[in-house]
Symmetry: C2
Subunit: 469 residues, 2 copies
Amino acid sequence: MKRYEKLADEIAALIRSGLLAPGEKVPSVRHASRTYGVSASTVFQAYYLLEDRGLIQARARSGYFVREHAKRPLHEPQQRTGAVQATDVDVSELVFSVLGSLKDPHTVPFGSAFPSPDLFPLPRLARSMAQSVRDMPSHAVIADMTEGNPELRRQIALRYMLSGVRLPLEELVITSGAMEALNLCLQSVTEPGDLVAIESPAFYATLQVLERLKLKAVEIPVHPREGIDLDSLADSLQRLPIKACWFMSSLQNPLGASMSDAKKAALYELLQRHQVPLIEDDVYAELHYGAQPPKPVKSSDREGLVMHCGSFSKCLAPGYRVGWVAGGRYAQRIAWLKLMTTISPSVPAQAALADYLQHGGYDRHLRKLRHQLESQQGSMLASAARHFPADTRVTRPSGGYFLWFEFSERVDALQLFRLALAQGISLAPGPIFSATRGFGHCARLNHGHPWNAGNEQAMATLGRIIASF
Amino acid sequence: MKRYEKLADEIAALIRSGLLAPGEKVPSVRHASRTYGVSASTVFQAYYLLEDRGLIQARARSGYFVREHAKRPLHEPQQRTGAVQATDVDVSELVFSVLGSLKDPHTVPFGSAFPSPDLFPLPRLARSMAQSVRDMPSHAVIADMTEGNPELRRQIALRYMLSGVRLPLEELVITSGAMEALNLCLQSVTEPGDLVAIESPAFYATLQVLERLKLKAVEIPVHPREGIDLDSLADSLQRLPIKACWFMSSLQNPLGASMSDAKKAALYELLQRHQVPLIEDDVYAELHYGAQPPKPVKSSDREGLVMHCGSFSKCLAPGYRVGWVAGGRYAQRIAWLKLMTTISPSVPAQAALADYLQHGGYDRHLRKLRHQLESQQGSMLASAARHFPADTRVTRPSGGYFLWFEFSERVDALQLFRLALAQGISLAPGPIFSATRGFGHCARLNHGHPWNAGNEQAMATLGRIIASF
């Protein structure tokens, strides 16, 4: 991590926390150079980077200012509290009716789970695909099914190593996307009827998988910025026979919360004490806005208690359906379950990704993607501040492409969803993120699509509907 | 189906049944022309075809003879009988230890589940892949995940139609290979603890899936040529609360049995009477040796009671991991389960197959593949007759690439497996095909690889090991 990147991240944190408010002037180059003890050119480089990330903008002859989101920026949502209990899960029909609404390509896709496909290097991937299927030795189409493409395994292990996680190659199981990995992890450590701790709000697919496997949910509150409430988790682990935890420790979906390194270490200690395995869903890891990737809980794992799940679907190659899990002590069992479920992810897709990771310029693509997403986040935040009622609360995650809105208690998110859809706008209503159908006045909005006049207009329409409640 | 193909199939049936024995002269062209009431040129065409299929050979100035397998051809195995009971399944470790043995590329792959990858049009598929990823509109990588590639769905539905099965397009769910389809079908109609009727012997993955889903197996005996024992099934349906049947009605693995059309219709009536759904595993359908494809039970389905599962893995594109199910009344539930399990099979793999099915010459490839497999079957049968003890029994399926051997009761198939592996030869021992660990003196051998001196020598080695018991 270069000096100017570090400086940019420090200033970005000040902006994100609100200490440097929208419209405010950022310190002059001379001032910053003195404060941080770096050269003027380092400050310049940092400011260029922040401009590129959409956080600050230059005004002629006046220096740099924090990008103006609104006169009154929106506040952060508050963390839920309350007693935690085990719940049967029954959300699938609701979730599918919401997902079904996304089919129409003319709908404004604020409800989508994916960024715009135009943000991915699909032509370059197509070249990697063409080349690797042409050069593939015929025996590989069968041989690579059992353990996966060896070069892909090596490339994934290498990325773990570069981000400071030591991992024996044998722990890696290549899967048909992270969704299969998460399913297999859960099956490897639970029986029907068991209790699983999940986040509240949680990614709706988590709830669906629990429902499918007849597991009970123990919903642990998540702070919108700091992640899982450890006290609540500790209490639940004490009281309830929890068999596994399924958490997103970085860029949690839908809140975008990222736990600090210290908190991640504390989480690991807690789970280790109870010998409860952690399924760490880390599919947004590569979409951090700062220069430094967040470290997973897996990096503390000394006992193989953490199953760390990743994927290329959100950051490189949606539709290729290639993910993986670093399965710790459960790796062998996960690999066997995989052979009994789908046998293998597509061998050509694996080969294409292996080629791309070696020759395609993955890190260059990721840098560009992160800047685009961060800049689009700024656009949506600014638009929300313009069009949504002043009592609206919203997250401001340091990565990914989701914002979580908390509206006035009067707003019925499911009704909002239906009214918005009638106007050609999709969104993900709060109740699909909870087994207990909480978050009835919340919604997740996707800013993964290049900002345009249509989006701006859709935000204005949403604002009118919200105000009408 | 052309006249000469029909004639060829009639004579092939006589050879397969043993009425026309190895070494015997087939009727002269003039004689056959009179008997069957066809022109001499039709007979010539039929004989050329049979020669190509490896069933007869010409001798100079003497006419055509049934290809010589042995002085004494081996007999057909006998059907098991005995009381049928529900059994817990616990075979996975044994199966995985057998499958693990296949990793070494220098092993003679008689134990493999796949034909040789060299029998597939991989370079042509690679062209379809290169073209379709290059031309794919970017929105398709995300949009095609939910319902699958529309052109692939259309091509699959078309093939059903051409083989006489009427199918609403909505019944089709594209899956990550047939293995996922079968898993999802079973989950859509059972709960843990339920009873499922399967075949005995059964494809070992069937047993593994039952084990994984905590279902109990009711093993119905299979006749080596005629398939499922319907009386036994009727009795079991009467006595036991069976929730679903999972059968391969054509080219059953491992026996190669194919039920007649009449028997398939009777099976459907029986299941309809009990309102028990059928999961029809039909992944070898395209590998029939005759000109006419066997009709699935699905073709009788008037109530949506049959879930018909197919795949490209055994006949076109192993490793691409694309299969499907025509799910009848369960289609919606299966589609939902798929979205909660793997979301979607690889989108590029689907697009490549859609392109190949339109432009690649699939039927030409299949004709060639079938002739190769039939001819290799003849070679393995001949080799077995030369090298295996005379009391060995063997199947002679009308398609696919497996032979099922029944050895003297003295032979311990697991011991045979270990001894053979020590000599660099893999095979699939009988006990992995049964929840009750039956078939202890049986084995499945794969003839899906072009016959060569190494195979011949491996058969001789196996023969010596078998005789040593």
